[in-house]
């Protein structure tokens, strides 16, 4: 089937430096209302700055965000995950996500994974690796490994397609979901 080929071609492993965040991080503090409609290059100068002032200047492509429970709560603004994606973050690992944020991430093609215990897994700068398909999350700096929740095959296909809009182009309006 095309879908399994797509999933195989998609890189489900992610590896990068960790940026640690706490519980209940609201989208308001990922992208503040004052810059919500600014061009992305302006948004990128402020992404997550209220919680970590050094984040916008120091985030590098492939870095990971590792956080506590209910990450991305509050406003359903898609600009929040879009800004994290544009900053080059390769994956967000959190104990849990607010569901509109979760939905936005998969729909724009930004990999995220739920992993109980994630908030105690690493410190800023540790190297963390993730496999979306198996759900393993490993701190390569300390050697500690956790078992996260494997990403649902439907959502993996959405990520592999690059988000919901390219997925619709491939599958039509049923998103290939009628037989799942």
């Amino acid at each position: 089937m095309t879908s399994s080929t797509e999933t195989r071609a998609f890189q489900t492993a992610r590896r990068g430096r960790a940026w640690m965040f706490g519980d209940n991080v609201p989208t308001d503090q990922i992208v503040a209302t004052k810059v919500v409609f600014s061009p992305m290059e302006v948004v990128l100068k402020h992404v997550l700055e209220e919680l970590k002032p050094e984040f916008p200047a120091n985030v590098r492509p492939g870095d990971l965000i590792v956080a506590g429970v209910h990450f991305g709560q509050s406003s359903g603004r898609a600009i929040a995950p879009k800004a994290i994606q544009a900053a080059g973050v390769g994956c967000i690992v959190a104990e849990s996500f607010a569901r509109t944020f979760l939905r936005n991430c998969y729909e724009i093609g930004l990999p995220i994974i739920e992993c109980p215990g994630a908030s105690r897994l690493a410190r800023d700068g540790d190297v963390v690796s993730v496999d979306l398909e198996s759900g393993t999350v490993r701190n390569e700096t300390t050697g500690q490994t956790l078992q996260g929740n494997p990403v649902d095959p439907f959502l993996l296909r959405m990520l592999a397609a690059g988000g919901i809009i390219p997925l619709v182009r491939r599958t039509g309006s049923d998103l290939g979901a009628t037989n799942t």
Partner: protein
């Protein structure tokens, strides 16, 4: 199946669904506000394009801006307005009210319907006995606009039963704020809530509203109250026709069943930095506030202004507080004018603002300077959401907000009844 499962099964053309199933279902109504309409329109125009399958189902409410404060924002509203007109989508322009309140009052939400919304508090509409969940922004451009469809994972449902009756001075808003903290922020992520029990059943429609409203704050995907006489009377009062009463099947089981008694509850306050921080309001008595506001998703209801009119009946607002009144929709403003309470509140020093979502996010109003505090009926209190990150937002009942406006500081509202 329960109400949500039945609606998702029907919408996706299946005989039955179970929690965990991913379905693509037909959408009966989609709600956008001025901020999300912009994001959805831009993505649709840039990446999708073409015809909108059912333009009459996509309802836009300009609620964050009742009048654009800059040329740039006027241009955004103009582009949104043109997009609605071009495709024949209903638009409630500046001054119509709060997105959720306007959609309900104007008959866009029917019992048994499958509704989606861009605003995170969209689950509030489940008060009507429908299914309503917030979607990601790109769902609108990818599937809702071109096909009138959306994907859903069928949620598990938790049954929450509230028993008992509240004491004088404790309103439905106090119970809802308290319940959010009792359950815990994000505690029931991805699941749905059924609210039931003698307390919920005893409430008028717009008080029930406050419970499905808070569902998202505990992380729920959707919430509902099974339609009963109150729901049907309300729906008929709006002139709704052709709706379907959907209820849980007898013997339905739930992922969990929780029960609370509301009988001993005192008036509550939610304090910063997040909505899970709630305490009896007397613990914050004496805290000065410079701003008080009735408005937003959790306020601006007719009953809120009636409570304020009782508090300020023979008493002017305190000189050191600005008291903002923001009707949730135009119908409410007309009623409060007809009753004479609009004039009374005006004479006692309160300020009427256009029907809108008020100081929600301080887009059009409601920014605070460092060190200032507001008490309001809004639903969020994250630092920085209303101006300075060093300003404070307290959330409470309309009664407590009005009492604080009268006293110039947070007080136990029972002193005013």
């Amino acid at each position: 199946m329960n109400l949500i499962e039945k609606i998702l099964a029907k919408g996706s053309g299946r005989k039955s669904v179970a929690p965990g199933d991913i379905v693509v279902a037909e959408v009966d109504c989609a709600l956008l506000h001025d901020l999300s309409a912009r994001s959805c329109r831009e993505v649709f125009e840039k990446k999708v394009g073409g015809k909108i399958a059912h333009p009459e189902r996509i309802v836009t409410v300009f609620d964050h801006q009742f009048s654009p404060p800059s040329e740039e924002k006027a241009a955004v509203l103009l582009a949104n307005r043109r997009f609605c007109h071009e495709h024949g989508m209903p638009l409630y322009d500046c001054g119509s009210g709060n997105i959720h309140n306007v959609a309900m009052q104007n008959g866009h939400i029917k019992p048994g319907a499958l509704v989606v919304g861009s605003d995170s508090h969209s689950p509030v509409q489940g008060v009507m006995g429908c299914f309503c969940a917030a979607l990601g922004n790109d769902s609108y451009a990818a599937t809702v606009m071109p096909f009138s469809k959306a994907w859903f994972r069928v949620p598990e449902t938790i049954r929450i039963e509230l028993t008992g009756q509240t004491m004088p001075g404790t309103t439905a808003r106090d119970v809802a704020l308290w319940l959010c903290a009792e359950i815990g922020e994000g505690k029931i992520n991805y699941q749905a809530i059924k609210f039931c029990g003698e307390y919920i059943q005893s409430l008028p429609f717009w008080d029930r509203w406050l419970f499905t409203l808070m569902a998202v704050d505990v992380g729920a995907k959707a919430a509902y109250i099974e339609p009963d006489r109150t729901t049907i009377d309300f729906a008929n009062g709006l002139g709704l026709e052709d709706y379907e009463i959907v209820t849980d099947d007898p013997g339905t089981t739930y992922a969990a069943e929780w029960r609370w008694d509301v009988g001993k509850l005192e008036p509550q306050i939610c304090f910063p930095p997040t909505v899970g921080n709630v305490a009896p309001i007397r613990e914050y008595a004496g805290t000065p506030v410079q701003w008080a506001e009735l408005g937003g998703h959790g306020g601006g209801r007719l009953v809120d202004f009636e409570m304020a009119a009782q508090v300020l009946n023979h008493r002017r607002k305190n000189d050191h507080v600005n008291f903002n009144l923001v009707p949730g929709n135009r119908h409410i403003f007309r009623e409060v004018m007809k009753s004479g309470q609009a004039a009374l509140l005006h004479e006692q020093g309160a300020t009427w603002f256009p029907a809108s979502t008020g100081s929600n996010q301080a887009v059009n109003m409601g920014a605070m300077a460092e060190g200032e505090s507001m008490i309001s009926t809004h639903v969020r209190n994250f630092p920085g959401r209303n101006g300075s990150p060093k300003a404070q937002m307290f959330l409470a009942s309309a009664l407590s907000v009005a009492a604080a406006a009268a006293a110039g500081k947070i007080v136990d509202p029972r002193e005013f009844i």
